[in-house]
């Protein structure tokens, strides 16, 4: 459950990170590929080496979707509907991987925000990313 304060904090953080969406997104992806090599199997069609344009474009896409969802968390099921369909019928990424990506995103945020990634911000962000992942997987079955 996210409180009003937490929703505001999450929206604020993602708003401030949107200008560097490429950096944040590609960093999180690289971390995931390094720590959880099985996740690379979903990217055989892309060049996912550090700084590749594929990686940066893809990272940006993911971060902007997360940032967009953060603008009105109560409407996640509506705003994510097209992505739900994409993930369920085309990408079919096993949802366990959403957890792995979320963990790496939290590490990226910690590296980027340092002390500002307080326990409260961490808790709120973890809850938001879990909710986001759950909605994303809703159409799977």
């Amino acid at each position: 459950m996210l409180s009003k304060k937490e929703k505001a904090l999450i929206a604020e953080i993602w708003e401030s990170l949107s200008p560097v969406a490429e950096d944040i997104g590609s960093d999180a992806l690289l971390r995931m590929f390094a720590s959880f090599p099985g996740t690379k199997t979903y990217f055989s069609h892309l060049d996912i080496s550090p700084n590749s344009s594929h990686l940066r474009t893809h990272g940006k896409k993911i971060v902007l979707a997360i940032a967009d969802g953060a603008k009105d968390i109560s409407q996640l099921t509506v705003s994510l509907a097209p992505l739900q369909t994409l993930h369920a019928y085309q990408l079919r990424i096993d949802p366990t991987n959403f957890k792995l990506f979320s963990q790496c995103m939290l590490v990226t945020l910690a590296c980027h925000l340092g002390e500002d990634f307080t326990p409260i911000a961490h808790a709120a962000m973890d809850k938001y990313l879990s909710a986001f992942a759950a909605v994303l997987a809703e159409k799977y079955r």
């Binding site: 910690a110 590296c111 961490h122």
Partner: protein, 147 residues
């Protein structure tokens, strides 16, 4: 037996030489109690855990955080046999403390975040992978004696 690359060994020793167990331990434990509040179930005797501020300033939490981190240095010093090194601690956690082993992973995740926040850019994807592999081995060893 766990195989460690030279990079992994060096990375683990390096990280632990740079962190202050009196700072990182309390930060990781208090973060765990804030981010995963159900973990507070094991700390009923610790006093005020009512909110994030109370948890972070709670002296029992700080003291215990330091103890936990000092326990981790045992693993750093015995990387080639963490399972045996932690056999007693595993028995302690399962029989006396009765901690659900899933919680070890939660604390490990919080420790990763604390170290990441401290190291910033130096906590590269490769360093993170080594650190997480180390913590995964520790977590597994701590859960080994449960039955």
């Amino acid at each position: 037996m766990v195989e460690w690359t030279d990079f992994e060994r060096a990375t683990i020793k390096d990280i632990f030489s740079k962190i202050d167990s009196g700072v990182v331990g309390p930060a990781a434990l208090s973060r765990c109690l804030v981010v995963y509040p159900w973990t507070q179930r094991y700390f009923g005797k610790f006093g005020n855990l009512y909110n994030a501020a109370a948890i972070t300033s709670n002296p029992n939490v700080s003291a215990h955080g330091k103890v936990v981190l000092e326990g981790l240095t045992l693993a750093v010093q015995n990387m080639d046999d963490i399972k045996a090194t932690y056999a007693e601690l595993s028995v302690l956690h399962s029989e006396k403390l009765q901690v659900d082993p899933d919680n070890f992973r939660l604390l490990a995740d919080c420790l990763t975040i604390v170290v990441a926040a401290q190291m910033g850019k130096d906590f590269t994807p490769e360093v993170q992978a080594a650190f997480q592999k180390f913590l995964a081995v520790v977590v597994s060893a701590l859960g080994k004696q449960y039955h």
